[in-house]
């Protein structure tokens, strides 16, 4: 990403943070540590993510930001030999609660991946997949959910005439928006985005960022990004990680204009990372 190689803080435009009502500690991470086997990937993370805000995780590669994101819907359960300490709660309930099925957690926490990964099915079937696995059979419910999600993902006008065509025939940007539509089709509360624009051109990126603005009216969004400009443009709050530790977490404005940590400033001004 050449644009982020050498940014200067003056060139980054920070959107003024918007405060909306809702729980301030909607997602609450407390003293959280995480291991892949013997390797500690996260250490003593504590942060609160408010409801219906966009929080960006930034930091150099390998800093643990993706690991933390993937723990929010327990995607890391797929990896062998993982362990954790501390706790994460969503709306007051621990995600590790033995009474909480990981499937119902994931239904509440949607996820969009770095590489768009539509299923080799039709556009329609991609969007309604989450509903289908929940057992929804009713055609009109599915049709409605499909249209609503595609509209929210700003894709409806482009694909409404080829809903039954293979999703693999869409362009890269369309595929990623399709993945967003798929992630929001079953109306989750939280949307996790793992570098959703890293494989897209600037126009497609712009569309996705527009989308994030609109989606945060309804969803709490956590986004991992390598692009400082993107973090500044879309997020209300930003967390900076380095080597598995949380260095600084504050409003995006503060992080980019007046970071309290020297490491944060060095990173966002492009002096390391």
């Amino acid at each position: 990403m050449p644009a982020t190689m050498n940014p200067s803080t003056s060139r980054i435009q920070v959107r003024p943070s918007t405060e909306r009502e809702g729980r301030k500690d909607y997602i609450s991470i407390r003293d959280y540590g995480f291991w892949y086997g013997q390797k500690k990937a996260l250490d003593a993370i504590s942060l609160d993510i408010p409801e219906r805000q966009v929080v960006a995780f930034i930091g150099p590669s390998g800093c643990g930001k993706s690991t933390l994101l993937r723990n929010l819907n327990r995607m890391n359960d797929l990896v062998d030999g993982i362990s954790h300490e501390g706790n994460i709660t969503i709306n007051g309930r621990s995600i590790y609660d033995p009474g909480l099925e990981v499937i119902s957690l994931r239904r509440r926490v949607g996820m969009v991946f770095q590489k768009s990964n539509p299923f080799p099915k039709s556009v329609y079937e991609n969007v309604v997949f989450a509903l289908r696995v929940m057992g929804v059979r009713d055609r009109s419910t599915l049709d409605e959910a499909c249209e609503t999600s595609l509209r929210k993902a700003a894709l409806w006008d482009e694909v409404k005439d080829r809903l039954q065509d293979s999703a693999l025939g869409l362009s890269g940007g369309q595929m990623q928006r399709l993945c967003i539509a798929r992630a929001i089709a079953n109306r989750p509360e939280i949307l996790l985005m793992d570098e959703p624009c890293s494989a897209l051109d600037p126009i497609a990126t712009g569309k996705i960022e527009e989308l994030i603005h609109e989606l945060k009216e309804q969803f709490t969004i956590v986004i991992v990004t390598h692009s400082m400009q993107q973090a500044a443009r879309v997020s209300d709050r930003t967390a900076f990680f380095y080597l598995g530790k949380q260095i600084e977490y504050d409003t995006t404005e503060k992080i980019f204009m007046n970071p309290s940590q020297a490491q944060t400033e060095a990173y966002i001004s492009g002096r390391f990372g």
Binding site: M111, F129, M134
Partner: protein, 544 residues
Amino acid sequence: MASSSDSNTPRGEAWVWFTGLGLIIGLGMVIGLLSLVFVNGVTVFWAPPVPVAQIDDGRTVIGQLAQRRIRAGSLANAPQYERQYQVGLRELNGNSYLWVDEAKVKAETFPADVLGLERVEHGPAFVRPQALRKSDGKVIPITDPAFESALQAEVSAAVVVREKFEEITRHRIGEVNREMDEARVALRRAEDLKLADEIPVRRRQIDGLEERFVILKAEAQKVVNSGAVATLDSKDAAGRAVVIPLTQIVRAWFPNRLDTWGRTQLFASRLGEFIFHEPREANTEGGLMPAIFGTLVMTVFMSLLVTPFGVITAIYLREYAQNGPILRIVRISVNNLAGVPSIVFGVFGLGFFVYVLGGSIDQLFFSDQLKYNNNTPVFGTGGLLWCSLTLALMTLPVVIVATEEALSAVPRGMREASLASGASKWQTIRDILLPASAPGILTGVILAMARGAGEVAPLMLVGVVKLAPTLPFDTVAPFLHMDRKFMHLGFHVYDLGFQSPDSDAARPMVFATTLLLIALVVTLNIGAIWIRNRLRARFKGAAF
């Protein structure tokens, strides 16, 4: 790249040629094998001109040239050849084939009146016909221009009669016999259990069947009597008179009169008989329809058994089993299963499937059959089911390995997307992983089918026979009889090549049967590949 020398030729080019050599040798062998089988297999049905050879010792030979080879003991720089003629008329000559020193052949002529005959018994014949004695008493001499058409008309009539006769004896009488067997078993059971009201019913049924049997027999006799009583007066090479009843003739042709179109028609007719008819003369003549059908049904069944079994096993191994030493041992064992000699599976199939499983099925469900039918087993003997199961077991590792590979080749992103959407593991497997890995699984099934279709050794132990009286599929419920023994092309090749009383006559059929076996395997594979390509097209562009 900077490390290369000044020369324009990149280093290591020689190795390209070296590796190419391996491919060329391999391709050469495959092409050689296929063309050998093809040429030898196809020429069986081609009718070449038939010479009349005068031999030094005064003999005359009429026969189709079968082989020409260097005579054993002849000098290398001055090779002497000998020829093998197919002279036919086994009942007169004692042997259908005759070796003659080429040097002793004085003259070969190709007279137009040489007649080739395929007969119901005693193999083919090459004769010089004199006259056709028709059923109405008319005699048509060979000099009559209508001779050939009259002969062909009589042959066709004879064929029709024979087919009618076959239909009655094989199918209708066969059906009566089967019902009779069932009725007798039921009668014995009724007598044993003293079922007073059933005994007379069964007795009446048997009487009725016996009546039907007698009627059918008479009908068959009537068909035979109504048939051509025409005969063909001929002379053999030595000038002896040979009288051949036309009911004996399957096909007649004048090999030295035929033009290319006539030969092609004859070729097509023989090839058609080979594929669509039943065998005659200890399998050395006639068709292979039962063997083709048996091979096909067995292979399809094997695939139907092995695919779900293998796929389920692979899903467990790849998706559910805990990684660890036990899983590793299981994997190694599965892979080694692929290297076990096939005859071992045959022995296992006989010992376990036939005796233990089949025996138990008979005890449980066919105990009446055993008790009242002289302990004749139903499933406790070799049959289609056990053959399919044995081969399914043998080809299981192929499917397991292919499925595991295919599952692990599904992009991680797809699996994660499904789980992140709230799908359970099973939903992910069913809706995402299996469809996406279907082409890879089918590749495994194709390999399994190719291996299974060509396997002979284990089948000899668990249900393939030289000559099966009935097909495993007919119009009697339950239509598909998994307990029946059946014929198989691979076994047929073995049987012709090594068990035939007349190995000279069987030799060409070995090649023809081999060709058919190869064609069948290729056809099955093309079918499976077509399905796979259709599946692939559906997933085209997926991030594989």
